[in-house]
């Protein structure tokens, strides 16, 4: 009797903690975000009135929303393209016989473990106009002290550098793991056939790690949509520069929800973000299925 109960019920008890927390802090907030977004809703006092799609109508004509969307996209492109290209190169280097492999891997991974806040603070110092190391280096070439936060392009570049520094090594190790799973015989066969090393890399290695490449692009995009800490701490104030030239979507969400207490509007922004993430995740799923099916 007890043994039967153990076999029937215990598995559910084992997975229950996850699902209780997932329902409470995952599903419920997401559903309620949708509900909130259909209201004028004050964060501290609660719902004011049902307003239908008014928050979304406002959102799609709000220049500040488009500004944040454009900044987020721009920082994403500037940080992801060089980052993944560099990660690929680093992985190729690490894939060769090296002495002290763990030490190399560790040194490459270390930036990813440093608290984001600390990263943002030291890079803000590095890019500082008056005491910054980068500014000092630029003076060797005769440049004047430069205010990195003042222009959109340079601020995006500054934030992107932080993201690149944190994530390149991590992605390199993911690529490395994928490369090592590609059968060595393929490399050797190609080499015997007289293919150059670049050719082997392009025709054997790259196709072999395609699912991982795709995975990192999607994960970077989902991470890029959520970018907050780096731009928030880059420079004085919390709105991403005097003209919001580096305010991201999540910063705009935070401003509306937790500085102006406009919960309804913040919820609408969240829901748009969620839709963007869902699109990215399903693109990933479809592409992976197609690639795996073909391979």
């Amino acid at each position: 009797m007890f043994a039967r109960l153990d076999r029937k019920v215990t598995p559910y008890l084992f997975v229950a903690p996850f699902f209780v927390l997932f329902a409470t802090f995952g599903v419920y907030p997401l559903a309620r975000t949708a509900w909130m977004s259909l209201h004028r809703w004050d964060l501290l006092t609660g719902p004011v009135r049902f307003s239908g799609l008014a928050n979304y109508a406002h959102l799609f004509t709000d220049p500040l929303f488009y500004n944040a969307l454009a900044n987020t996209a721009s920082i994403f492109v500037v940080s992801t393209v060089p980052q993944l290209a560099a990660a690929l190169g680093i992985a190729a280097l690490l894939d060769r016989p090296l002495r002290g492999r763990t030490a190399w891997h560790g040194a490459v991974l270390l930036p990813n473990l440093v608290p984001v806040v600390a990263v943002a603070l030291v890079f803000t110092q590095l890019f500082g106009r008056d005491q910054g190391f980068v500014t000092w280096v630029l003076t060797w070439f005769g440049a004047d002290p430069f205010d990195w936060q003042a222009h959109a392009w340079s601020a995006h570049l500054g934030v992107a550098v932080m993201v690149i520094w944190r994530w390149t090594g991590y992605n390199a190790l993911l690529y490395l793991a994928a490369m090592q799973a590609v059968p060595r015989e393929l490399h050797e066969a190609a080499a015997l056939d007289g293919a150059s090393r670049a050719r082997v890399f392009r025709s054997v290695t790259l196709p072999g790690i395609r699912p991982t490449l795709l995975f990192t692009v999607v994960v970077s995009a989902i991470g890029g949509l959520q970018l907050f800490t780096e731009p928030r701490l880059f420079g004085v104030g919390s709105s991403g520069g005097n003209d919001r030239q580096f305010q991201t979507l999540v910063m705009y969400l935070y401003e509306n929800g937790f500085e102006r207490f406009d919960a309804g509007y913040a919820a609408a922004i969240s829901w748009v973000l969620f839709a963007l993430c869902a699109v990215l995740a399903s693109v990933n799923a479809v592409l992976v299925r197609r690639l795996v099916g073909r391979g």
């Binding site: 043994a3 029937k8 215990t10 598995p11 559910y12 084992f14 997975v15 903690p17 927390l21 802090f25 995952g26 419920y28 907030p29 997401l30 975000t33 909130m36 964060l43 280097l93 060769r96 016989p97 190399w104 891997h105 040194a107 991974l109 270390l110 930036p111 473990l113 608290p115 806040v117 600390a118 030291v122 890079f123 803000t124 110092q125 590095l126 005491q131 000092w136 520094w165 090594g169 993911l174 793991a177 090592q180 799973a181 060595r184 490399h187 949509l225 959520q226 907050f228 800490t229 701490l233 004085v236 999540v250 929800g257 919960a263 913040a266 919820a267 969240s270 993430c277 995740a281 990933n284």
Partner: protein, 273 residues
């Protein structure tokens, strides 16, 4: 036959490592000088002798002791709980047969990619409704178990715990909770260690959610205290980066102790032929 990297490749790798380490080195340089030294036309390039003095100033400026203690409590609790509960669920998904298992595991997979911060507004409402605003429960409870952890431990359980072992233990009259405690947990210790380290780091480094539900002065975590330190109109970098160095130190120590296991856990233990 793969060739060992040539001079150029070695130089490139070395450059990457220098780039990885330089911002950390630079934090120490700034943290060990005073503001006057950093404002010189040519900034100092080697560490100075002001670190102790600056550290003292950090503890004067914000309640850094409380911040360290709070972060340790939060990250410690979340880590232990996430490892135990993720292993529990991962074991069930890997080796136990029950109705709805596939659908439920599909939900776990689906939720890995959904960022928790999208529900942040109702989360705030929920947590303050529970009376947790400004209390550590607000950052501990939502992190007690993670989808990533469940996924990771299920995989580990499939590879490291043979189903026959579980069946044999049950034939001998061992109940499932005892199988979990005496067979599964000990067998998964290396995987659990990697998950523990990743969880600890994520929790220790978290900024967005603590910013929403905690008070940077009354209930600071290390990251909140740091951003508070940097938040004035004028930023005193030696002070701020001293805080950053102090707040990064536990992470670096942990990494130094466990780097080998973490790297093998992420890259896989495959040895190149």
């Amino acid at each position: 036959m793969r060739r060992a990297p040539g001079v150029l490749a070695r130089a490139a790798l070395l450059l990457v490592v220098v780039g990885s380490l330089f911002p950390l080195y630079w934090s120490i340089v700034v943290a060990s000088h005073d503001n006057a030294a950093m404002s010189a036309r040519v900034p100092p390039l080697l560490p100075g002798g002001e670190l102790g003095h600056n550290a003292h100033a950090v503890f004067e400026a914000v309640d850094f002791q409380a911040a360290m203690a709070n972060s340790a409590i939060v990250a410690g609790t979340v880590t232990v709980s996430n490892v135990l509960l993720s292993t529990l669920a991962g074991f069930a998904f890997a080796h136990l047969v029950f109705r709805g298992r596939r659908v439920l595991f599909g939900l776990v997979l689906g939720s890995v990619l959904v960022p928790a911060l999208l529900g942040v507004v109702p989360m705030f409402e929920l947590v303050s409704g529970l009376g947790w605003y400004g209390r550590l429960e607000a950052v501990i409870v939502p992190g007690l178990v993670s989808a990533f952890g469940v996924f990771w431990m299920r995989q580990a359980c499939r590879e490291a715990v043979p189903r026959e072992l579980v069946d044999a233990a049950r034939v001998d009259g061992c109940s499932l909770p005892r199988v979990y405690w005496h067979v599964v947990l000990p067998a998964l210790r290396p995987n659990a260690l990697v998950l523990a380290m990743l969880t600890f780091l994520t929790s220790w480094n978290d900024f967005f959610w603590p910013l929403v539900v905690l008070d940077p002065v009354e209930s600071p975590t290390v990251q909140l205290a740091l951003s508070h330190l940097a938040g004035g109109y004028y930023t005193d970098y030696p002070l701020v980066l001293t805080g950053a160095v102090l707040g990064t130190l536990p992470v670096v120590v942990l990494f130094a102790l466990l780097a080998r296991k973490l790297v093998t856990g992420l890259v896989g233990g495959r040895v190149n032929p």
